[in-house]
C-alpha cells in the first residue's frame, strides 16, 4: 500500500515536471493567465464606468484610479447586481460581499477557465504516451493504476500551479490598477476562490484523464474530451427541461448528477457543509469519469 502510494506520488511529480517544461503547457498557462488578466482589467473598466456615473450624480470629479467609490457601489447594490447572476443569486452575492469584490470576480473567471485549461492538458497526457510508447518506461516499473492515478494527481497539481500563478497576477494587477484594496484581504479572497476553482475543476480533470485513458490517440482524446466538456451544459439544460416526477423525469434527475457544472453555485456558498458536500461530489464524479477510462486502459495492449 505504502509502495503504491509512493509510486503514485513519483508518477505525479514526473507528470508535473514533464508537463511544466512542455511548450503546450506554457502556451495554455499563458492563455489562462491572459484570461485572469483580462478579468481584472474588465473589472476595473466596469468599476471606472460605475464610479464615473456616481461621481457625475454627486457632481464630484471622477477618480483616476478605480476603487475609491467602491463602498458606495457596494452600498447601492451595483456590485451585488454584477455578481448575483454569477454566484447563484442576490442572497449568495450579499453573503459574499464582505470580501473584496475583485477577488470574487476573479474567482468566477478562474472557475470558468481552469476546467477548460485542464481538460486541454489532461486529455493528451496518457494518450500521447501510449502513442509514443514512452509509457513503457513506466509500465516496467509500476502498475497501471499507479500510473493513471499519478497522472491524475499530477494534472490536478498543474491546476494548482496555474491557479497560484493566477492569484499572483490578479493580486498584482489589482493592487496596481485599483485603489483602496486591502492587500491581505484581497490575497486571502483570491487564494480561497482559486482553491475552490481547483476543487471545482477536479471532475473535469477526471473527465479528461478518462478520455486520455480510453482513446489511444492524443488528438482523438482531446477532441473527445472537448466535445464532452462543451456538450455537458447543453445536456444539463436538456435534462433539466425533461426532469420531473415521472420515471423519465427521474432518470433525467439521475443523469443530471453527473454534470459537474450543476454544482457551480454550491462552491459560492458561505456554508462550509455545502462546500464540503460539493467537494465530495467533485471527487466522486472525477472518480467515475476516470474509472470509465481506466477500465479500458487496464486491459489494453500498450
Amino acid at each position: 500500500m505504502i509502495r503504491s502510494l509512493l509510486d503514485t506520488w513519483w508518477v505525479a511529480v514526473y507528470e508535473l515536471g514533464e508537463a511544466v517544461r512542455t511548450r503546450l503547457f506554457q502556451l495554455v498557462i499563458l492563455a489562462y493567465l491572459g484570461g485572469i488578466g483580462f478579468s481584472v482589467w474588465l473589472f476595473t473598466e466596469i468599476l471606472s464606468e460605475a464610479e464615473a456615473r456616481i461621481a457625475e450624480t454627486l457632481m464630484v470629479p471622477a477618480t483616476k484610479t478605480p476603487g475609491a467609490l467602491l463602498p458606495q457601489l457596494l452600498q447601492n447594490g451595483d456590485i451585488r447586481d454584477l455578481l448575483a447572476p454569477l454566484v447563484g443569486g442576490d442572497q449568495a452575492a450579499l453573503a459574499l460581499l464582505d470580501q473584496p469584490p475583485l477577488g470574487l470576480w476573479v474567482g468566477v473567471f478562474s472557475m470558468g477557465l481552469l476546467p477548460m485549461v485542464l481538460v486541454f492538458t489532461a486529455s493528451g497526457t496518457v494518450s500521447a504516451e501510449i502513442r509514443s510508447r514512452s509509457i513503457r518506461f513506466l509500465l516496467v516499473r509500476t502498475g497501471r493504476l499507479e500510473i493513471a492515478v499519478g497522472k491524475l494527481v499530477g494534472q490536478t497539481m498543474l491546476g494548482l500551479v496555474a491557479a497560484t500563478l493566477g492569484v499572483g497576477l490578479a493580486w498584482g494587477m489589482g493592487m496596481v490598477m485599483m485603489t483602496g484594496n486591502d492587500p491581505v484581504a484581497l490575497a486571502v479572497t483570491l487564494a480561497t476562490r482559486c482553491a475552490w476553482s481547483c476543487v471545482f475543476a477536479i471532475p473535469f480533470v477526471g473527465l479528461a484523464m478518462g478520455a486520455s485513458l480510453l482513446v489511444g490517440n492524443p488528438n482523438g482524446a482531446r477532441v473527445f474530451a472537448a466535445l464532452t466538456f462543451f456538450a455537458m451544459p447543453m445536456c444539463g439544460a436538456i435534462l433539466t427541461h425533461y426532469s420531473g416526477p415521472d420515471f423519465a423525469g427521474r432518470l433525467c434527475d439521475l443523469a443530471l448528477l453527473a454534470i459537474p457544472m450543476r454544482y457551480w453555485t454550491e462552491f459560492w456558498s458561505t456554508d462550509l457543509t455545502v462546500q464540503l458536500t460539493a467537494t465530495g461530489r467533485s471527487v466522486i464524479l472525477a472518480t467515475l469519469y476516470f474509472a470509465l477510462g481506466f477500465a479500458r486502459f487496464q486491459r489494453r495492449d500498450l
Binding site: 513519483w10 515536471g17 517544461r21 514512452s134 518506461f137 516496467v140 509500476t142
Partner: protein, 294 residues
C-alpha cells in the same frame, strides 16, 4: 542451471494474423541469449509479452520464478529496453533516470550514485543534464539503454540495443553487456547477427511465431562438431577451395583431434591452408533455418 525465463506455448493473434504460435523456449540464469528471426517473426511481440506490454492469448511466461511480469513483483529486478518507445523530450536524462529509479525502488540516498554510474556505463555523463530534445538519436538510444541497466536488474530485455549507435558506441555497449555475463541474464534481440555471435552464449531462433532452433552458440553454429578449412590456390588434385569436417556422433575423436588429423592429411597432399573456421557463421545457420529474406 535454473532458468531465468521460461516460455511455454505462447500464442498471440493480431486480428487474423497469428504472431506467436505455441512459442516455447527458455533462457538459463546468467546467460546472454540472442533472440533471432526475420522481420515479422515475432521477436518484438515476444519481448512485449515478457515485459507485460501485451497480453498473450494463451501460454505461460515465468520470469525469474515469479510468474508472468508483474511490476509489483518484478520492479527493479527486470530492466527493459523497448524497441521503439520515444523518450519524453522535455526532461534531461538525469531527471528521467531519477524518477524511474525511484519507481523501481532505489532508495533516495543511493539514487544519485546509481544514476551517475549507469550514465557513465553508456558514456552519457557529460550530457546528463541536457534536455532529451537536444540529444542525437544515438544519445537518446543510450539513455534508453541506461534505463534498462538502471539499478543492476537481474534480468535485462534489450530490443535492438545498438540500433542507431555508431561503431565505437556499439562496441562499448557490447563490452558493457558482455561484462554482465554470469551476473545478469540478458535477452537481446537484434538483426546484427555478427554482433550477437560475438556477444551471446545462447540463441533462440524464431520464425512465423515458433521456435525453430534453441541452444548454446557453439551448438547452433556447429562450432562443437564442424570445421571448415579454406585452402589457397593451387589446390591439390581432387580438392576444392574449402574442405568441411563434420564430426559424427560415433567418432571417438574430439573436434581438435579430428581437425589436426585433417590438416595433417591436407598438408601431406600438398595443400596450403589459408584459414580454419570452426562451425558456420550464425548468419548462415539462421538463413538456413528461416530461409532467405522474405
Amino acid at each position: 542451471m535454473t532458468d531465468a525465463l521460461r516460455i511455454v506455448g505462447l500464442e498471440k493473434r493480431f486480428g487474423k494474423r497469428k504472431a506467436l504460435d505455441a512459442l516455447t523456449f527458455s533462457v538459463p540464469q546468467g546467460s546472454i541469449c540472442g533472440l533471432i528471426g526475420p522481420n515479422g517473426a515475432g521477436k518484438t511481440t515476444t519481448m512485449s509479452i515478457i515485459a507485460g506490454f501485451l497480453t498473450a492469448d494463451a501460454g505461460e511466461v515465468d520470469l525469474l520464478g515469479l510468474g508472468p511480469f508483474d511490476p509489483t513483483k518484478h520492479a527493479g529486478k527486470v530492466g527493459i529496453l523497448p524497441q521503439d518507445a520515444e523518450l519524453p523530450v522535455s526532461s534531461t536524462p538525469r531527471q528521467l533516470l531519477n524518477v524511474w529509479g525511484r519507481l523501481q525502488g532505489i532508495p533516495g540516498n543511493r539514487i544519485a550514485a546509481v544514476v551517475d554510474d549507469v550514465l557513465g556505463q553508456v558514456l552519457l555523463g557529460e550530457r546528463a543534464d541536457a534536455r532529451i530534445a537536444t540529444l542525437s538519436h544515438g544519445m537518446r538510444r543510450r539513455v534508453t539503454v541506461a534505463s534498462a541497466l538502471l539499478g543492476s536488474p537481474d534480468f535485462v530485455l534489450l530490443d535492438e540495443p545498438t540500433s542507431g549507435l555508431d561503431p565505437a558506441q556499439a562496441r562499448h555497449l557490447r563490452d558493457a553487456l558482455g561484462s554482465l555475463r554470469g551476473r545478469t541474464t540478458v535477452l537481446v534481440s537484434s538483426h546484427n547477427l555478427a554482433e550477437l555471435e560475438s556477444l551471446c552464449d545462447r540463441v533462440v531462433v524464431i520464425d512465423h511465431g515458433q521456435c525453430v532452433r534453441e541452444g548454446s552458440m557453439e551448438v547452433v553454429t556447429g562450432a562443437d562438431r564442424e570445421v571448415t578449412v579454406t585452402l589457397a590456390a593451387p589446390f591439390p588434385s581432387g580438392r576444392g577451395p574449402t574442405v568441411t569436417l563434420k564430426l559424427t556422433r560415433d567418432d571417438p575423436r574430439s573436434l581438435p583431434e579430428a581437425t589436426t588429423d585433417l590438416l595433417r592429411e591436407l598438408i601431406a597432399d600438398g595443400a596450403r591452408v589459408a584459414s580454419v573456421q570452426p562451425g558456420s557463421s550464425l548468419e548462415a545457420r539462421v538463413l538456413a533455418d528461416t530461409g532467405a529474406a522474405r
